[in-house]
Symmetry: C2
Subunit: 229 residues, 2 copies
């Protein structure tokens, strides 16, 4: 029987690739998604439909209301920027403590499942502005996980936070996913889609995705309102 | 103007004392409570009513469903034990990753508020069985907080997790609270109260509380179904 791993899964390009990597590395994925008051629930609807298709043994959709906390363009009425990412600046799409909250829930579920492996599709290149996408942050969470838990006290296991995408460019992520058979038509990346779920093509996330496909020399199979590359 | 601090506040004896200490230490408390699918929502109703009376400038009640994760007598149908705490054993009332989840939300709110101080009423003596009540766990979370956040990257501030009760006995906590004017009639500690909110007097939490009042030589002002001391 293969070992269980909790995979943080939003339905986007990175986390879908991450799930395929977890499987390729011999784990049975347990997918965990969050409805956190973000503008785009489109990706969650897709996540719900696709988690099983992607090989997840179970899927948890955790509802948390980060709008009550605010502080981000993704969880408040601040406009999502459409003029590209600025070097060395933390984007307004950064959500305070989001990855810490996500990893905490994943840790709780892992502990109940008896899993010691958590996959998160963070990326330190494209998201260099996000504090909680850096390797030193992930290492600190791993240390915390082993102090926070029953297994950490009883020394019956050691938690590991897997970040297989952390050093990859978007093009390399796409190439890796395609090699593992990922169908990127089933993924959603846009921060600001139309009500029908069509990607805007202009937000940071669309730009990074389109640039990745262009650099990989492969057409992006999803539909866009307008492609700003 | 005094500095803001986020105080994790359940309405119980420890967190109420913690809020009084935060005020005494010169902070304006921002209280944060969690409805996490626990059996006893009684304490949350009281928390809602009392946070303002206790001097909180604002109160957030965050709803999260830890029952979906389970793994604890407090979030599942496992019976709450009534036969006392066993030495060296993690109690079934331990909730996987609970303090990590609570501190993560507190960190997100602190970041939005511009606060760098978080108070949590963990106790390493009475709750020696809980992995996430230990000083080394708290130190690891503090390290994480300073890597997870905008201020951690931009070096504009340093987060501190305050645990003023961590080395105190229950009797010492009560004595400290009384010296600061805490009215313990306004607190609730029971894991398994009656539907009307009367404390059972037999669960771990009631036993520890009653023992604390006995050792402090002060009568506990709350009502009990039966006092097992």
């Amino acid at each position: 029987m293969s070992k269980k791993a909790v995979v943080l899964y939003s339905g986007g390009l990175d986390s879908t690739t991450c799930m395929a990597i977890a499987r390729a590395e011999g784990f049975t994925p347990y997918a965990m998604s969050f409805a956190y008051g973000q503008r785009h629930s489109v990706e969650l609807e897709k996540a719900k439909r696709h988690a099983g298709l992607l090989g997840a043994a179970d899927h948890q959709l955790v509802e948390i209301d980060l709008r009550r906390i605010g502080g981000s363009a993704l969880t408040s009425e601040t406009a999502v920027p459409k003029d590209g990412v600025k070097e060395g600046e933390i984007p307004v799409t950064y959500v305070p403590a989001r990855n810490t909250i996500f990893l905490s829930f994943a840790l709780g579920w892992a502990e109940v499942l008896g899993a010691f492996d958590i996959y998160i599709g963070v990326n330190a290149l494209d998201y260099s502005g996000y504090p909680d996408c850096r390797p030193e942050y992930i290492a600190a969470f791993e240390t915390l996980a082993n102090l926070a838990t029953r297994a950490g006290v009883e020394k019956t296991g050691c938690y590991r936070i897997h970040t297989p995408l952390i050093e990859l460019s978007k093009a390399q992520i796409i190439e890796k996913g395609l090699a593992l058979g990922v169908d990127y038509a089933l993924t959603h990346s846009c921060y600001d889609p139309t009500p029908e779920g069509v990607a805007c093509g202009e937000c940071d996330s669309c730009r990074l995705r389109l640039k990745g496909f262009r650099e990989a020399g492969i057409p992006d199979p999803v539909e866009y309102v307008r492609r700003k590359e």
